[in-house]
Amino acid sequence: MKKQFVLKSFIADNLVAVIFLAITIASIPLSGLSPVHIIDDLMTRIGRNAFLVFSLILPIMAGMGINFGMVLGAMAGQIGLIFAMDWGIGGMQGLGFAALLGLPVSILLGWIAGSILNHARGREMVTSYILGFFFNGIYQFVVLYLFGSVIPLHNRAIALSRGFGVRNTLNLEPVRQVLDNAWLVKIAGVRLPMLSYAIIVVLCVFIVWFKKTKLGQDMRAVGQNQHVSNAAGIPVEKTRILSIVISTVLACFGQIIFLQNMGNMNTYNAHDQTGFFAAAAILVGGASLTKASIPNVFAGVLLLHLMYIVVPMAGQNLFGSANIGEYFRQFIGYGVIALSLVIHAWRSRREAEKARALLRSEGEEA
């Protein structure tokens, strides 16, 4: 039967995206920003941020909901960057060095996070959120106390004056905008960082290829029904851990790309917002806790960034105070996540009831 396009069910399905779009479009004229400026800003932000949001796809596919623990990957990336800056490695080599150093750290952190989440079945998301905080404490301990004392720190420029611990803000001058300027195309005033886009395309190819592999298939199976997968002999625990490991590694690379574009790194807070932002983006893009696809990521990043550019300015012009816009932006971000979680939970309950009713009606006429 052809799926005829019912407007009402389309709206009901991606209620979140529709509300979001309405608010954003309404505030574009209010913001008083020229379209070129908006598009230009949007393009750089997509180049900078999309990679991070992709790291959420695999855990959703493996049935672990939104992996707020991707913050661990961001921390691994930052540790890689600290070492790169310690040796003052510039250009692409700097990014490569940071990524390669961040890789083993993020694999280890991903493995630890995965096994902990396996112990908290049914409440993975809140556990991954708390995991993010917990490792934030450990990250601060390592970076503020071990660097320079236990871990040799060569370059005095990034150390605190007391000799150990890394500075609050780290200047990433040697690697600043390296990816963006490597292959920059300018069309009608809009800068397009083609190399960043190329990397994102490579990531999409990886995800499409991964879904076709046996491990990808196992992950989809585990995501839908752990019991049946287990009975079929799929190593459920290991598969879930691998999905978290890959997500953490992607978050590590994503954070490096993000910070390279920003040009400097707020050593102790840069990773805080990554989990929140990526979750809001993928949910706005129409993903749910059990189904997420590449279009969801692109739509989400586009919409959320459009909002992040336009709404604060709109708030400024409308209410005359910038921080209303700022708070409004945060409110929308958190509101979107809360709303999508509620809709998802409500819909899965309704489906369960519908299935039972179906069973009953079938039982009725049999």
């Binding site: 909901g65 902990i116 112990h119 908290a120 049914g122 409440r123 998301m125 809140v126 556990t127 959120y129 708390i130 995991l131 905080f133 917990f134 934030n136 404490g137 450990i138 601060q140 301990f141 503020l144 106390y145 806790l289 209410f319 105070s321 921080n323 209303i324 708070y327 409004f328 945060q330 409110f331 958190y334 509101g335 996540i337 809360a338 979680l341 509620v342 939970a345 409500w346 309950r349």
Partner: protein, 353 residues
């Protein structure tokens, strides 16, 4: 009673008391032993701990109803805190001072707390499973929404509003001249030069604990506990599960509102905007340190947990800093509180199925 029986008894008590709590208690004891060696006065530390206990006890107590009724850890406590902030800002706006100020604030915030709690409960009842994550983000969204409201709502009292614009509230509003330390200084006893016992505050906390203890023994309280440990059992005995969950959420939000008022009066300021964002986590950590699980919590655990948690928070900066000449207290606080929550989340739920 032969020795094996004794060992079994001790092991059982230890397991029941929970290994992490023993480790934390020992850690606190070590800090107290070290204090004199690093010239940290025990008296002022004790006075600090008692004060902080009084400030936070009610926020931790607010966790009990929802845990008992099976709604899990109340990461949406910020809703209660918002109700409290609304009540206290209105009390200051009406210029209520002294006792009238404090109790006026409580009276003003309770209706907000009940309404917010009721809406929050409606949402949670519709969404069984992943309640904690949803509670957290609903709380965050509400705090952000209120941050906008603080700028728009028509407050006019001069010492609350931004000076130059005359509209929108300041981030912190002083309570001097209103009901600052109203409870803490009431019948305060000066035990030694730097140890003042805030009798009023502790009495209020004791009274609230008594109210909660009585409620848990009441008919509805018993019903609520049964919903937490076995919802099917409760339903079979004719209990309206959703009604019980709603009562527990409303109670938790009201206790959260009164809790923040207690916190403010001893802290001396009303903190607005993003201050309540992370209010829930220390309270959750405290009750878990007290030995509560995801669906079982008692008043004793609230008291023990708050004392241990606040004890660590007060002692680490002073003792550890002078010991290692570095401020490790921030790291210890984060690792300790979140470690406890992780420990509780990853333990099999204690209720036997």
């Amino acid at each position: 009673m032969n020795t094996t029986d004794m060992q079994k008894r001790i092991k059982e008590a230890a397991a029941d008391f929970g290994w992490p709590r023993i480790i934390i208690a020992l850690f606190l004891a070590v800090l107290f032993i070290l204090a004199p060696f690093v010239k940290v006065s025990i008296a002022s530390s004790l006075s600090d701990i008692i004060n902080r206990f009084g400030m936070n006890a009610l926020l931790v107590l607010a966790m009990v109803p929802m845990i008992q009724s099976g709604c899990g850890l109340n990461f949406g406590l910020s809703l209660g805190v918002i109700a409290g902030l609304l009540g206290s800002t209105m009390a200051v706006q009406f210029g209520l001072t002294g006792w009238a100020g404090l109790f006026g604030a409580i009276a003003l915030s309770t209706p907000f707390a009940v309404v917010l709690g009721w809406l929050y409960a409606k949402l949670l009842n519709r969404v069984k499973g992943e309640e904690m994550t949803i509670a957290m983000y609903v709380g965050f969204a509400a705090v952000m929404f209120m941050s906008i409201m603080w700028l728009i709502l028509p407050y006019s009292s001069k010492n609350m509003v931004w000076g130059y614009e005359g509209k929108g509230l300041r981030t912190t509003i002083t309570l001097d001249g209103y009901w600052n330390r109203q409870l803490s200084d009431f019948l305060a006893v000066r035990l030694s030069d730097n140890f003042v016992f805030p009798t009023g505050l502790i009495l209020f906390v004791a009274a609230s604990c008594a109210v909660m203890w009585l409620f848990l023994r009441s008919k509805t309280g018993t019903a609520m506990t049964s919903v937490g440990s076995n919802p099917d059992f409760a339903r079979a005995s004719g209990i309206d599960i959703n009604k019980m969950r709603t009562t527990s959420v409303v109670m938790s939000t009201v206790f959260g509102a009164v809790g923040i008022l207690l916190y403010q009066q001893s802290f001396g300021f009303i903190q607005l905007y993003t201050a309540p964002l992370y209010m829930a986590f220390p309270a959750v950590a405290a009750i878990l340190i007290g030995g509560a699980s995801i669906n079982k919590a008692s008043i004793v655990q609230v008291v023990v947990g708050t004392i241990l948690f606040q004890g660590i928070l007060t002692m680490t900066p002073s003792v550890i800093n002078s010991l290692l000449q570095t401020d490790m207290s921030e790291v210890i606080r984060i690792v300790l509180s979140n470690g406890m929550i992780l420990y509780a989340l990853t333990r099999k739920s204690k209720v036997t199925r």
